[in-house]
Amino acid sequence: MASNKKYWKSVEELKDSSIVETLSKNEFVEEIPTDQFLGDKETLENTSTSRRDFLKYVGFTTAAASLAACEGPVRKSIPYVVKPNDVIPGVADWYATSMADGYDFANVLVKTREGRPIQIMPNKEANGTTSARVQAAVLSLYDEKLRLQNPTKGGEEISWADADKEIGAKLNELKEADQPVVLLTGTMASPSTSKIVDEFLATYPNVKHVVYDAVSESGAADAFEAMYGQRALPNYHLDKAKTIVSFGADFLGDFHGGFEKQYIDGRKPETGHMSYHVQVESNMSLTGANADKRIVAKPSDVVFALINLYKEITGVSVPSNATPIDAEIKQLAKELKKSGSKGVVMTGVNDINAQLISLAINRALGSEILGINNSLNIRQGSDEQVEKLVSDLKSGNVSGLITYNVDPIYTHANSSVFAEAIKSLALSVAISTENNETVNASTYALPASHFLESWGDTHFTQGNYGLMQPTIQPLFNTRQLQDVLLKWSGNDTKYYNYIKAFWSSEILKDASWNTALHNGFYTASVDTVVDNVVTPRDISISDVALLLKRSVNPSDFELNLYTKTGLGDGKQANNPWLQEFPDPITRASWDNYLTMSMADAKALGFSNPVKDNGAIDGDYAKVSVNGVSVTVPVMVQPGQAKGSVGLSLGYGRTFGLKEEMQVGVNAYPLYTNSNNIQYGVTIEKASGTHKFACTQVQKTIAGRHDILKVASLKEYKTVDPKDHHHGWNKPAYVSYDHNEVEANTIDLWDEHNREVGHHFNLSIDLTSCTGCGACVVACHAENNVPVVGKNEVRVGRDMHWLRIDRYYSSEVETREEAKELGLSRGETYEALETEAENPEVTFQPMMCQHCNHAPCETVCPVAATSHGRQGQNQMAYNRCVGTRYCANNCPYRVRRFNWFNYANNNEFDFNMNNEYGKMVLNPDVVVRSRGVMEKCSMCIQMTQATILKAKKEGRAVNTDEFETACSSACTTGAMVFGDVNNKKDEVAALAEDKRAYNVLDYLQTKPNVIYQVKIKNTNEA
């Protein structure tokens, strides 16, 4: 029964750990270190400050402080000389644009204030979605440390004109001599850029264009080309799916750019239908965490299981191996067959043969979910061409290299080849927004504009075009790639004019450029897409399976390389928001690590002990693959397949980064042949203890294990939620006068009338929340939430107003139950460990619950926190004196204390400590100072702005007009914000929904944040 489940946050909780027990009782894990200066008698005695001196100092500082306070500073106000027409100081402008940085592709809206972009939100009209990285990209714009600011030649500044002249001459020289030059770029997915590149190649026939993605999905594109004749990635229309089987494809993460919106669209319990999602994988991925059923297998077994599934579905015998999960695969085959054209299979193995088998299964099923006609144009990188380039560089068959926004010296497994070869090239040019090792090694380093400073276009899926427009004047002396190439091709047209002409002749035909630019996207009519219909070719799957089987090398330890939700391929490694963003699964920030199963960790002697300050430590492991070895800390990960380890790419970047951001270990050297699975891994324990900055253990739930409610789709449909025995959303009961009564019948507080005016509620659907964390970064941007750095996060002083709690759960009872069963400690541990091999995972966004009967408000001695009539729990920072009583009395642990000044402080050298980084601050929200409490305000600045807009226009507030940063950032629609007193608002219905519940409802705090019970499709019916 679902309600009997036990939830836990950390492996340590399963052990009989008194530290966790103690920590669960402490709001602040760190004591104030008074002992350091008062407890040490010796120091006190040796101190030279006498009592009189002390009084003198006190007197002087008091006098100085009062004198300083008497005189206000003279503040200057400098208006524009000529005001731009569309700028009104104090009023935000929104622009529709697109992001394409080679790894992340999105249709977005950009909020600007006085000409500065301050926030990125999804362009929902264009079906745009944002991830944590897309949200954070606005801060990378202001990265004055890493961005290239002026063109340089060999480290010396050079003017653009001179650079053009010299490089042009060199290119012509190489052209005359017919010496090969390579233009190496990431995926750009831009039709006009493709044309410009073609023209450039036509001008210089000796130049070859190679597309290189640091994290490659070349296998999928190659397989699609082999079967459907077009090099692109297939699209997956998961919203229509009945059964989804994924073999290690992290499609809620970075697989094919992510499909979270479509996936969740197909999982709405209200409709009565939910797709059944089975994930076969070795690492615990975000997708696996959301799956209805997760089958754990080593990477080699995952590959064999894929072949075996093909066998089961088609009945054709192909070469394969038996795996421990064959019985489950058989069951899956039945499911898939039953679903027929509504079933779909995907695989995340970057291997053409594995991808071909996956496509073949989908063909055998006649899957309509696999989108062939509107294929994806992202991730165009070709491993084959890159390998050719590497061998050419080695043999000296390349004379020139022009790179654009790629850093092979950091990201390629054979980075030494690039590092060596670039030195001896006749021409090496790096066009890049950011400084990196490749830029440093190249002769010419040309600064490219950030996407927020550029014109451009995108073509992510067939027929869906996007436009990119500048939202700020270039901050530095930069030029965008297209302008550079146009110039070098001898074309004096500005790219802006070029793209306008290109769009009107090639894409828009008769449609309006201004409309397309305003909307940020343009959908081509059907007939222009029709010629993309492709007919599949027949491929001998038997041969493919044989090749695949040969490529697999089952070994004791297999490594599965992956990308984290926060850092991805590492392009934005210097972005403090992303570094501080806790990983959805491990809850660790500022690090990557080797994830290891509990069984392996025990066998090899690895553990993650919890320190008395709530931080966790880890042991180092030396991981060797193909003769390359790296030393990484180990994180014991429930749900990791035994015999497998996981390691994320994108960390360990050091060149040009701020010291604080130089964290983690570079895993790219292990990424041989761009294969995310590496066999024959050896692991040895290395010396040393690693200090993790993990928000996992600190925020325990103090034994209140009914925070989460989960039910199956069958229960949802058939069982009365309030049923006393079997109900899945039972009301809370409390003891009153020795009688069990419903909690809502008694109350400590007087009831207020909440029917006048607006009353805000936020509904969070746990079924739709994938844990992606876009809301966490959106909250950072909107509310000027400071970054505190690794050491502060480690001791539990992170400032996130909004966090996403991750709970593991097991069907079998945990510690207490085991004790009752009379199991010995050893037996208990073993039983729990088995459970922890594959726990269920639930994500729960947690922020201030804005209780109508708020425990924090009653204890504030200075009434700094008070309740608004509109349902918001308000926090007056200037009134707060920092007693922290409120945080102690908050049952949800959502209040954050400013231990330090995080702005203008060299100790916290993040974005709030420099002129550029401060440009991202939201001018409508104050930057809090030291010694005050802060917390989620339910974006009161946004609700007030919405009200003011309505007042100025003399109208009532429209339906669903109210928004918060988190709800607008949420692409799956899990977070819905609105006014419950407006019955037409979506949230008004959600508040009354049978799935609605409040966290810790027995406390009767009456929160204004409502959660919707998580429904899983356990496929019982």
Binding site: K76, S77, I78, P79, Y80, V81, G757, V926, K951, A956
Partner: protein, 435 residues
């Protein structure tokens, strides 16, 4: 603020001295000439209405300076030109074509409606110019400050006197009491020294008086201390020196320019906005100098005349990059660094448009009689108490605003009032202004 005020005063004294020097340096030579005032007046009227947007007497504007034009051109030619210059040019008149080309081919409007007499009046005006009148020097003395200060000083004296009288009465009472008690006094003569001493002894020996006096002293002390502390950071009356001696009195008062013509973002935004230089140039492109009679009294007897004020206008030209001689923008702009007067702390959110657009509050309500201020100062204390007082008293104007329709009905019922105040609407909640 204090140092600014001091600096202010010093500069004024220096500048005043400088002005006086200037005054004596130039001897005003008034020329006595018979002037037909009626004609001059008529001509001036026509000139101002028809010609002044493009011509000045002594300076090039869009067209040439017209002072003494009669000396340079024949009267017939002038009449023909003014009435219809295009016709004159078409007739092939060389002078006409030359002047047209000199001013980059900008067309002058034709004035066929003017009679010869009209034109001659205008020309008469261009010849005689303004009639100089004896300017009476503005000798306003700086006694204004004391007038305001008198009342409280009086009050203090009266209070002090009352206290002294009370003490004396108490003393004489005590004396009588002691006499009644049988303590005979050897001397009947009054001696102030002795009286005071007796008073002191009396007070010292009387516990009630001792306690009362201590309480009184403590209360006065507390009042003074709190009064001082609460004034910290309150900059009411703050009047810094601005980079340009801009007079709100001339603009908003004398010329009745609407506040929101310049502070245009007040109706849209949280900021009222300091007008950008292009707004100044809308008018000052044509107004490069003030009238002879214009004076700006900066207070403290420090008066700016035409000479100084024209220099102030030149500062706008410098900021806008306007070349007043060639009448073109050079592109060499220099933003003006105004000193901000109304400063709210960062933790306060204030929105002008809420007050100006939604509620229709007059600017003067918070900013005071700006149209009378030669030099702007902070009129209101801008303290939270001041905000809240207004929110408590102000009845919200809900008429014609659909937004308030429902909420007003509910609130009016709840509070049993006809019109709700801003406070009743939630205008006192912390989070409405602090986030």
């Amino acid at each position: 603020m204090k140092s600014v005020a001091l600096h202010n005063r010093l500069t004024r004294i220096l500048l005043r001295g400088f002005t006086i020097l200037l005054f004596f340096g130039f001897s005003l030579s008034s020329f006595s000439q018979d002037i037909d005032e009626a004609r001059q007046k008529e001509g001036k009227k026509l000139f101002k209405s028809l010609c002044a947007s493009c011509h000045k007497l002594d300076k090039k504007l869009v067209g040439p300076a017209l002072g003494g034009v009669e000396e340079r051109r024949e009267n017939d030619w002038l009449i023909a030109w003014i009435r219809n210059n295009a016709e004159l040019r078409a007739s092939g008149d060389k002078d006409a074509i030359a002047i047209f080309e000199e001013y980059n081919g900008s067309n002058m409007t034709a004035f066929p409606q003017l009679t010869d007499q009209n034109i001659n009046d205008i020309l008469y005006y261009t010849t005689v110019g303004e009639i100089k009148k004896e300017v009476v020097a503005d000798n306003t003395t700086t006694g204004g400050g004391s007038a305001q200060g008198t009342a409280p000083e009086w009050l203090i004296y009266i209070l002090a006197a009352a206290i002294v009288v009370a003490f004396l009465m108490i003393a004489s009472l005590l004396k009588q009491v002691s006499e009644l008690k049988g303590n005979t006094t050897p001397e009947t003569q009054s001696n102030i020294r002795r009286d005071l001493q007796e008073l002191w002894v009396g007070v010292k020996n009387n516990t009630f008086l001792k306690v009362m006096s201590t309480i009184l002293l403590l209360l006065i002390g507390a009042y003074v201390v709190f009064g001082t502390i609460f004034q910290v950071g309150v900059d009411q009356g703050y009047q810094p020196i601005q980079p340009i001696a801009f007079s709100h009195k001339i603009h908003a008062g004398d010329n009745k320019i609407d506040c929101q013509y310049c502070h245009s973002s007040a109706k849209h935004s949280k900021h009222s906005g300091i007008p950008t230089v292009n707004i100044c140039m809308n008018c000052h492109k044509n107004i490069s100098e003030v009238a002879e009679t214009t004076v700006v009294d900066m207070g403290d007897g420090y008066v700016l005349g035409k000479e100084e004020l024209d220099l102030e206008i030149a500062k706008i030209y410098k900021a806008a990059g306007w070349d007043a001689d060639n009448l073109e923008y050079t592109g060499d702009t220099k933003p003006i660094k105004w000193v901000r007067i109304h400063n709210l702390p960062d933790f306060v959110y204030f929105n002008h448009s809420q007050h100006v657009t939604v509620q229709g509050v007059k600017c003067q309500k918070c900013h005071g009689p700006v149209e009378e201020m030669e030099e702007l100062y902070q009129h209101s204390p801008l303290t939270m108490g001041w905000c809240i007082d207004c929110h408590r008293e102000t009845k919200v104007d809900l008429k014609g605003n659909e937004y308030y329709a429902k909420i007003h009905e509910q609130l009016a019922k709840k509070y049993g009032v006809e019109k709700v105040t801003a406070a009743q609407l939630g205008g006192l909640e912390c989070g409405k202004c602090h986030y």
